[in-house]
């Protein structure tokens, strides 16, 4: 824990424990009795009246100690006490995530930045197989393959393996035309059956991989000339099992959603991922614009075909086996972000389920592992729980509301206010917004930062989508058959449009 974290924790503790100023006692109710026939004094000032009781004295600002109220309880006091402790747990979690956001952002702004592998310019480069999973990608697959063929990497050390997973459009035809034009450089895998899904396709393709390194690009991605070398360079470090580059939205200016996602992506990569890299924590492999060492993949048993988020799953399985994921912030690649809210909601829900699945599988093992440092354990746990925070936050609001209406105002006032403050800080005002603002600043953008307040809309949508996905996940856990399907994000680009 560094100095900054200690100071922030100390401030919070001081705030919680300091005595509150003496509360003003409300004047006794001036219940005047009006005699029959007496003239009404319309100018008389009445005492304030509230449906809630007047606020009694509390022992401190947050009301941890409270006086029993003499009235028949609607909900037993024991239950309310339990609710209160749950609420405090929620507040603590929210507070931890808030501090995490600040820590990462300040590190990114003022800390030492690590790009140790970026400068590996000349080397005996390892062999690389580039995998391009594709399911009905006729609009974009040609651009991706063409861009890969033009990269600055020794051609005899690189193969391109398009994974055509049961496409029903012209994807197969387009891939085969490239195979004919560039014999030996493209080795396709056309799947017509088997378990659907990207992870299953990757698992099947892994048998074809003979290279030291496998890189993965989604079919709508457009790698630049130097990208393959940049993504391969970290693998000279024998501790690195996977690498992740930065994705940059290409359809930024389409509408409000794309503009919000552009800023959100900036925050996630420019600040979150790079801060983790700086601090030797757990940068996350993101499933595309990245890669994995074949030996490391074999050591952990290959891709799991039964997971929704093969990227998160891979990150944690590698970590538990003592392999690191390296993040390359300057290895940038364009991607398309969703342009429609329903598509975005589906995407978020898919990520949520995959992430929660990984949390369920690996949180305990992460805490027990002897191959992972304490910092990595804490960061890894926070990363696993990031999608769980939305339902937890909503749960906190429900708890606070219950307490507010059933036994509330005397000792709840401080708690409620604190939750509101923390929720606002996390969702809207400072922590996340600060992170996004810093990312936009680091990216050198200027005007787009004005859109910051509208991000609240995006966060609210995410909050609801994540909560819905989590609830659905609880329900499906009890179903006898849990089927996987390739829930592909919609593509918007026209063929050839992005390379111009």
């Amino acid at each position: 824990m560094d100095k900054l974290t200690r100071v922030l924790l100390l401030l919070v503790l001081v705030l919680l424990c300091c005595p509150a100023p003496a509360a003003e006692t409300a004047p006794p109710a001036q219940g005047s009795v009006i005699a029959p026939g007496a003239a009404i004094n319309w100018n008389e000032r009445l005492a304030p009246f509230s449906a809630l009781r007047s606020k009694p004295k509390s022992n401190n600002m947050i009301g941890l100690k409270y006086e029993a109220i003499a009235r028949p309880p609607v909900i037993p006091n024991q239950v309310l006490t339990l609710i209160m402790y749950l609420l405090w747990a929620v507040i603590l979690l929210v507070l931890l995530y808030t501090l995490r956001h600040y820590y990462f952002t300040l590190n990114r702004l003022f800390g030492v930045q690590r790009h140790p592998y970026l400068d590996i310019d000349t080397a005996a480069w390892p062999t690389v197989d580039v995998l391009v999973p594709a399911h009905n990608e006729e609009d974009v697959i040609a651009d991706c393959l063409q861009a890969l063929l033009e990269v600055d990497y020794p051609a005899h050390k690189m193969r391109i393996i398009p994974l055509n997973d049961r496409s029903t459009d012209r994807t197969r035809e387009i891939i085969d035309s490239f195979v004919a034009r560039y014999p030996g450089r493209i080795v396709p895998l056309h799947r017509t059956g088997g378990t659907p899904g990207k992870a299953a396709a990757l698992r099947e393709a892994a048998a074809m991989v003979t290279a030291d390194i496998m890189l993965i690009f989604d079919a709508d991605y457009l790698p630049g000339r130097g990208l393959i070398r940049q993504l391969t360079a970290p693998f000279f470090d024998p501790e690195v099992g996977a690498v992740m580059g930065r994705v940059v939205p290409i359809n930024t200016g389409k509408n409000l959603l794309t503009r919000l996602l552009d800023m959100e992506r900036s925050g996630g990569y420019q600040v979150d991922q790079q801060a983790r890299m700086n601090l030797h924590l757990v940068p996350q492999y993101g499933g595309t614009v990245g890669g994995v060492r074949r030996k490391a993949l074999e050591a952990i048993g290959g891709w799991r075909p039964d997971v929704l988020a093969e990227d998160t799953d891979l990150t944690y399985r590698l970590l538990l086996k003592g392999w690191k994921t390296a993040y390359e912030n300057r290895s940038e690649c364009y991607e398309e972000v969703p342009e429609d809210w329903p598509v975005r909601v589906r995407q978020i829900m898919r990520w949520t389920k995959g992430h929660n699945e990984a949390a369920y599988r690996y949180a305990g093992r992460l805490m027990r592992s002897n191959k992972v440092s304490l910092g990595e354990k804490l960061d890894g746990l926070a990363l696993l729980g990031v999608f769980a925070m939305s339902p937890i936050l909503l749960f906190g609001w429900v708890l606070a509301t219950i307490l507010f209406y059933f036994n509330s105002t005397d000792w709840l006032t401080g708690v409620f206010a604190l939750l509101a403050l923390m929720s606002y800080s996390t969702l809207g005002n400072m922590a996340v917004f600060f992170e996004i603002g810093a990312a936009v600043y680091l990216d050198g953008s200027r005007e787009r930062i004005r859109l910051m307040p509208l991000n609240y809309l995006g966060f609210l949508v995410s909050l609801m989508a994540v909560t819905k996905a989590t609830l659905e996940q609880f329900v499906t856990l009890w179903r006898p058959q849990h089927t996987l399907k390739w829930d592909k994000t919609a593509r918007y680009r026209q063929p050839g449009a992005a390379l111009q």
Binding site: I40, G224, E239, A296, N370
Partner: protein, 380 residues
């Protein structure tokens, strides 16, 4: 009516409705006001372009040299061999006052004002060999169609030579330099930008550098010191450390500090979660990683990469085949060879200190500063 206690005249319903509407409008205004910049940006799209991802630029060290070569070829037809004509027709001719072509004997001529200021703001172009005096600051690029021979204390913005570049002591290059042959600098050179050569770069003691690339980079005077010990020695296999965490895929992951004793030999990667120390004459066939400081003894052979998150000290007479990557400071002892002529590699660190007598093949990239140190005299 008209008596005490009578109800005051009721206000009109229209007035109440008006106040309510005004109140609602005020609330809406207060809500929208902070969002106004966002809504304006959303409508006007002043900063809605995707972040710039330069797809064509691949970080090639010769990027600027190639650009300058193309620039000269287009503006001075015939000057640069095999230069493609510009796609959109010939560019506008340059102002004659903005450049000078060197005389037939290859020497530059300067105006009295330039001589007085010890600086020239003109592009200097030598069609063949170019000879330069001493003590000038060339604010624009310098090109030589053959060798470029410079005196002492010159400063250059950028240099491109079709032949060798040989400069005297105390010269500096501010942005970039490229030689199609060998680039040799005198003592105490200052190379702030990218420096590359197709054959070799030779730096003398006291020189400082940033990013360099050449098939062969020599630091200090040749010949190199002889190897400290014969290469062929009796070696013993490295014993398995007690605190090993993982040993899958020919990789040993060690939780504590790793010590490789002298004369040890090992085949496979070694990763330590703390520091690493390698004794003299050891031989490692694999990559070596330290999450802390790393000390490599003398006459160590490593057929792989060295990666350290702390400081890295490489002894004398070592042979390192793979990339050397360090988050902190690297010190390389005399007689050490990094990379091979047929397998060039990279040395990269924040600070690189190189003793005279070191050779590297490929890239040497000091993110903050690199320096050539005089050969230390062995103690005792």
């Amino acid at each position: 009516m008209g008596q005490d206690g009578a109800l005051p005249p009721a206000r009109g319903g229209a007035a109440v409705t008006g106040h309510a509407i005004a109140f609602v409008l005020l609330c809406v205004l207060l809500f929208v006001l902070p969002l106004l910049p966002a809504l304006l940006e959303l409508r006007q799209k002043r900063d809605a372009a995707p972040l710039k991802v330069v797809r064509e630029y691949d970080g090639n060290i010769k990027h600027f040299a190639n650009g300058f070569r193309q620039f000269l070829g287009q503006r001075f037809p015939g000057l640069i061999p095999d230069c493609a004509a510009p796609a959109g027709g010939p560019p506008p001719a340059m102002d004659p006052a903005s450049y000078q072509m060197a005389a037939g004997d290859g020497s530059a001529s300067f105006t009295p004002a330039e001589l007085a200021a010890h600086a020239s703001a003109r592009l200097l172009i030598g069609t063949g060999q170019l000879r330069l005096g001493a003590g000038m600051f060339y604010e624009k690029e310098v090109y030589a169609g053959a060798d470029l021979l410079g005196g002492e204390r010159n400063s250059f913005r950028a240099i491109l030579a079709h032949g060798d570049i040989r400069l005297g002591d105390d010269c500096s290059v501010l942005r970039w330099a490229h030689s199609d042959g060998t680039l040799a600098l005198g003592q105490r050179a200052r190379l702030y930008g990218r420096v590359s050569a197709e054959c070799a770069i030779v730096l003398e003691r006291g020189s400082r550098f940033g990013r360099m690339w050449a098939p062969h980079i020599g630091f200090g005077p040749a010949p190199l010191p002889a190897a400290i010990e014969p290469a062929l020695r009796a070696r013993h296999p490295l014993a398995e450390p007690g605190d090993i965490l993982d040993q899958s895929e020919l990789r040993w992951l060690v939780s504590g500090a790793l010590t490789v004793p002298a004369d040890a030999v090992h085949h496979g990667d070694l990763v330590s979660r703390k520091g690493v120390s390698v004794g003299d004459h050891a031989s490692l066939q694999g990559n070596l990683k330290s999450n802390g400081d790393m000390v490599i003894g003398d006459d160590v052979h490593i057929d792989g990469a060295l990666v350290a998150t702390g400081r890295l000290q490489i002894g004398r007479g070592c042979m390192i085949r793979g990339p050397v990557v360090c988050d902190g400071q690297v010190v390389i002892g005399s007689g050490t060879v990094i990379g091979r002529a047929d397998l060039p590699t990279t040395v990269t660190a924040n600070e690189i200190r190189v003793e005279e007598g070191v050779q590297a093949h490929g890239t040497v990239w000091a993110r903050d500063v690199g320096v050539v140190m005089p050969l230390r005299v062995a103690q005792g």
